[in-house]
């Protein structure tokens, strides 16, 4: 694969192909692109809206749809993300606007989040602390539920998938809505034996994966009540339970480690569309409970209580301003913390969007956070979009954004015994990006493309190093980020035929700027570990009457696993190809969709984390049944 980034004229996908995901059965449906409230002040930034709701983990979905890097301990095992060359801790994961990264680890395991329980998923690239607070340095993953519509509608969905290596997924969704009340229930159960065979060069013979089975289930309940035409209240409660045997490295035969994760998330929302503006208030509680079992059990628990209030006001027809305040109490218990470890954080923000003209949009966001009595960096963000062409059939726009972002040191970083360093400063980053989007729409044909270039500077990155008789974190590393993201997509549709293609490419440089110690000069100018230079996704789907088929490809270039970029410790590039076929059958209100798919067709042995096997060719069949009744 020859990809020369400098001269590559590539263009990016704004509509994201609905679900080329490995486990989804709904890949024909196109994503509705509409502004999430949480991204409406993200003018000039790159945002991908993806389809949520399918069977599978958030990690699988992101890996198959967009050229991001997911580092996995195995199939459905612990999985963390890298966006734009940053680390998992520099990615904010938000649920209903609340950062759900673990307060102790500062990151999210994306294999713990069943996509089935969420209606909406989008990825916002680049620094966004002005909107989302801590951690939003490389990018932000926004998870949420549909806004209530209060129409009379009853839907019932059932999903069943059976796949290789003892995989069974069963999901159910039921939703009932009336003019006052709305209820939605979702439940998913997944079991994966994960005893796949693999042939790792480090082992030298075919081996069967041991100690890697996974059992997940999760439920989500939403209730909304419309008080009157202007006001509603809603409550959501989500519980996920994951029991995983921790897949060992290929070199280990005798392993019994287990991770048990139980995550509870509850939020209550109030929405009031007043004449002066829209008032929103949220109270949320998030509880993370993890046991690591290896002979003995060690337990880590953390929780957060969050109260947020925001007010969104229009000043005339051109200016919109949103103000908000947030209060959070974090606490954690572990054998390595003092008892009653807790801290408070306060955030205040103002986000404004100004429409200079029909073709010119500007955005200024400001945020100041206070944690544990200390100021986090003040984070401004400025964005702009300008339409050179703004017609029904053709749109051409230029966009740009620059911002400061930060990451508050985690509770582990500051309070772990031994080694925690309470004097750590937050990680501090600046970034800037420019992009161009072009969209052409004709009767049966549509074409979209986009190109983005960015640069970023991450300073005071926290690194744990030996310090006397234990390890301790320091603000030590400085990293320069730069890259290009390009995508092009086309779609063509007649009465009974359709074709969609999309190609997305990311070139990423994440460069260590300074030596971490005097004897470490050789690492200056090196690429950070686990950041591929080149990443490419190709998705093609075709439909004919009730039939559809799809092909999805993933190319990921070589990744170093060490900061000295030694090739003997690097991971080989890989190209994975998945394909599937499906048929949709409809009887009045009932729709059934049957899918068969093959993943990793070329049976490529690949690793996303050193010496952790990923499965070869595997197959699956699934059925999705949906019953839908709308009353007028």
């Amino acid at each position: 694969m020859i990809v020369r980034a400098g001269v590559l004229v590539c263009l990016c996908v704004v509509w994201v192909q609905a679900s080329m995901a490995q486990t989804d059965t709904t890949y024909l449906r196109e994503v509705q692109v509409y502004g999430l409230p949480v991204t409406s002040h993200a003018v000039g930034a790159k945002v991908d809206q993806l389809e949520a709701g399918g069977v599978g983990t958030l990690s699988d979905k992101l890996r198959s749809d967009i050229p991001l890097y997911l580092k996995s301990y195995g199939n459905n095992q612990l999985s963390t993300i890298s966006i734009r060359g940053t680390t998992a801790s520099q990615t904010a994961v938000l649920w209903n606007g609340i950062n759900i990264n673990s307060p102790t680890l500062g990151q999210s395991d994306l294999a713990l989040l069943p996509l089935y329980l969420f209606d909406e998923l989008s990825v916002r690239y680049g620094g966004a602390s002005a909107l989302y607070g801590s951690d939003a340095i490389g990018g932000s993953i926004l998870l949420g539920q549909q806004q209530p519509s209060f129409i009379k509608r009853t839907t019932f969905t059932f999903d069943q998938q059976i796949a290789s290596f003892g995989r069974f997924d069963t999901g159910m969704k039921a939703a009932w809505g009336g003019s006052r009340w709305q209820f939605s229930t979702k439940a998913i159960h997944t079991y994966l034996g994960n005893d796949f065979p693999y042939h790792s060069p480090a082992v030298g013979y075919e081996k069967k994966q041991n100690n890697a089975s996974v059992r997940n289930y999760g439920v989500d309940q939403q209730v909304q009540y419309k008080i009157n035409d202007r006001q509603y209240v809603g409550v959501e409660a989500m519980y996920t339970d994951n029991h995983r045997h921790v897949q060992p490295p290929v070199t280990n035969n005798d392993s019994h480690e287990v991770l048990n994760d139980r995550n509870t998330r509850v939020s209550a929302n109030y929405h009031n569309q007043m004449s002066a503006g829209i008032l929103t208030a949220t109270a949320a509680y998030v509880f993370n409970d993890e046991d690591y079992v290896n002979g003995t059990t060690s337990t880590n628990r953390s929780d957060q209580l969050v109260l947020q209030a925001g007010f969104n006001q229009d000043y005339g027809s051109r200016l919109n301003v949103r103000y908000g305040l947030s209060y959070a109490r974090y606490s954690a218990t572990s054998a390595n913390f003092d008892d009653n470890l807790a801290e408070y954080r306060f955030d205040g923000y103002v986000s404004s969007r100004y429409m200079v003209s029909r073709n010119w949009l500007m955005n200024l966001d400001l945020r100041q956070a206070l944690y544990d009595g200390k100021y986090a960096p003040f984070t401004p963000s400025f964005g702009m979009e300008y339409y050179l062409l703004n017609q029904e059939t053709q749109k051409l726009s230029l966009r740009g954004q620059t911002s400061r972002a930060y990451r508050v040191p985690t509770l582990n970083d500051r309070y772990w015994i031994p080694g925690g360093n309470p004097t750590l400063k937050p990680e501090d980053a600046w970034q800037a990006e420019v992009g161009v989007n072009w969209k052409r729409t004709m009767d049966s044909f549509g074409f979209e493309s986009s190109l983005t270039a960015y640069r970023g500077w991450v300073n005071e990155m926290i690194v744990w190093r030996p310090a006397g008789s234990f390890w301790s974190p320091q603000n030590l590393q400085n990293v320069d980020l730069s890259g290009i993201e390009a995508g092009v997509s086309g779609k063509w549709k007649t009465d009974d035929r359709s074709l969609k293609t999309s190609l997305q490419y990311a070139f990423t440089r994440s460069i260590n700027r300074d030596a971490l110690s005097a004897s470490d000069q050789s690492t200056v100018g090196n690429q950070l570990p686990y950041v591929p230079n080149h990443s490419l996704r190709i998705n093609v789907s075709a439909g004919y009457k009730s039939w559809a088929m799809f092909v999805g490809g993933d190319y990921t270039s070589c990744r170093y696993t060490t900061i000295d970029n030694v090739s003997s410790y690097s991971l080989d590039p890989f190209f994975l190809l998945d394909a599937g076929v499906s048929r949709r059958v409809q009887w009045t209100k009932l729709t059934a969709e049957f899918t068969a798919n093959v993943r990793n067709i070329f049976n490529v042995y690949y690793e996303t984390l050193e010496n952790h096997a990923m499965p070869g060719t595997n197959v699956g069949v699934s059925v999705k049944v949906r019953w839908d009744r709308i009353k007028n």
Binding site: P418, V463, S469, D564
Partner: protein
């Protein structure tokens, strides 16, 4: 069979032919050259030193670096000789006895046994539980094991002719280093503050000696005394070198400890080396190496070698043939490590690159 496998099979067939050919040449070469009475082991790695590179925990990337007398560093000799096989996860230590190398792979729960001079794999001792160190006496290898973080440690006795475990002796928590002296085995219990003494004939524990917290390396000095390097309690600055008298080991009631030298530091890694004349003990913290004379009664006044800021010393060894000190810098496991070489008087010689997390050394006898 897919295309890759097909290519792979063809390639490995070719490689097999090439290997056979190389063997034929090697055998002829050996036959021709081995005409004197030199009974030293022959092979690519018959001289020099092996550096034990722990690797990153859970990544299975530990390996062995060989540094020859000609000053050529060869990385991952085990993989190089054994068709690219990975040695495993957390390579803890290596012991050479009669040209047999016992390589302990802690988190892979095994000991790989190799021919030391060629590094060809001989066999694997499995069914171990977090093994740490090996010592060999006559026909038996004694392997210390942590077992777990909550169970007492143990010593597994392996009959090296039958290649099987014949007995397991439960000792103290965190069974770490092991030293054989006069048909007695000394085992430091690193999660505790004791050294267990085992009789190799009866394979029973005959004494437990109380030392200082976190005992590790065991060294025999010029006077036949045994030194126990104790790391001390976390943050307690109570690391110590404890000298014990092995002549008291058989009497439960007699005090074994001769003297305890407090070091006023903690050693995260209670590893050490002794000079070829067995009169000076070298131990280290993350940035400093210290030297203590066995006749000293107080800690050394200053550092013997001082590393630059950010150094992370992780291992030390002394080549008895060349009188050279080897000090390993793990560089915080972020990439390949470095080994610095010094003369016995502390003069720097040179350095070479190792694998990830160099923490131990094995020298040819």
């Amino acid at each position: 069979m897919n295309f890759r496998n097909w290519i792979g099979t063809g390639f490995s067939k070719l490689m097999r032919s090439v290997t056979v050919l190389l063997w034929v040449i090697a055998v002829i070469g050996v036959t021709v050259s081995c005409d004197d009475d030199d009974n030293k082991p022959s092979g690519e790695y018959a001289d020099g030193v092996f550096v034990v590179n722990e690797g990153n925990f859970g990544k299975g990337n530990g390996n062995i670096t060989h540094f020859s007398d000609d000053k050529i560093a060869t990385q991952d000799v085990f993989g190089l000789v054994n068709n690219g096989r990975a040695l495993g996860d957390v390579v803890q230590s290596m012991t050479i006895e009669d040209n047999i190398g016992y390589v302990v792979v802690n988190n892979s729960k095994k000991v790989e046994v190799v021919t030391a001079s060629t590094f060809e794999s001989l066999y694997t001792i499995e069914e171990l539980s977090l093994p740490r160190y090996v010592t060999v006496d006559d026909d038996f290898a004694y392997i210390t094991e942590w077992v777990s973080f909550t169970d007492p440690g143990r010593v597994s006795v392996v009959d090296i002719n039958k290649r099987e475990i014949v007995k397991q002796i439960t000792v103290g928590y965190g069974a770490e280093n092991i030293l054989e002296d006069n048909d007695l085995l000394y085992v430091s219990n690193s999660f505790a503050n004791t050294v267990t003494v085992i009789d190799t004939d009866s394979r029973e524990i005959i004494k437990t000696i109380e030392v200082v917290a976190s005992p590790g390396e065991l060294l025999e000095d010029a006077n036949g005394k045994i030194w126990v390097v104790c790391g001390g309690n976390y943050g307690g600055n109570d690391g110590a070198l404890v000298q014990i008298d092995p002549s008291k080991s058989k009497q439960e009631s007699e005090e074994s400890v001769v003297k305890t030298i407090s070091l006023s530091i903690n050693m995260a890694y209670p590893k050490a080396a002794i000079s070829p004349d067995r009169t000076s003990i070298f131990y280290f913290t993350d940035t400093k190496v210290y030297r203590l004379n066995i006749t000293d009664t107080t800690k050394p006044s200053g550092a013997f070698i001082e590393g630059t800021a950010g150094t992370s010393y992780y291992g030390i060894g002394i080549d008895r043939r060349t009188n050279e000190i080897y000090v390993a810098d793990s560089k915080a496991f972020a990439g390949q490590g470095t080994v610095y070489r010094y003369q016995l008087n502390g003069d720097a010689i040179d350095n070479f690159t190792t694998g990830i997390g160099p923490g131990g050394f094995a020298f040819h006898e």
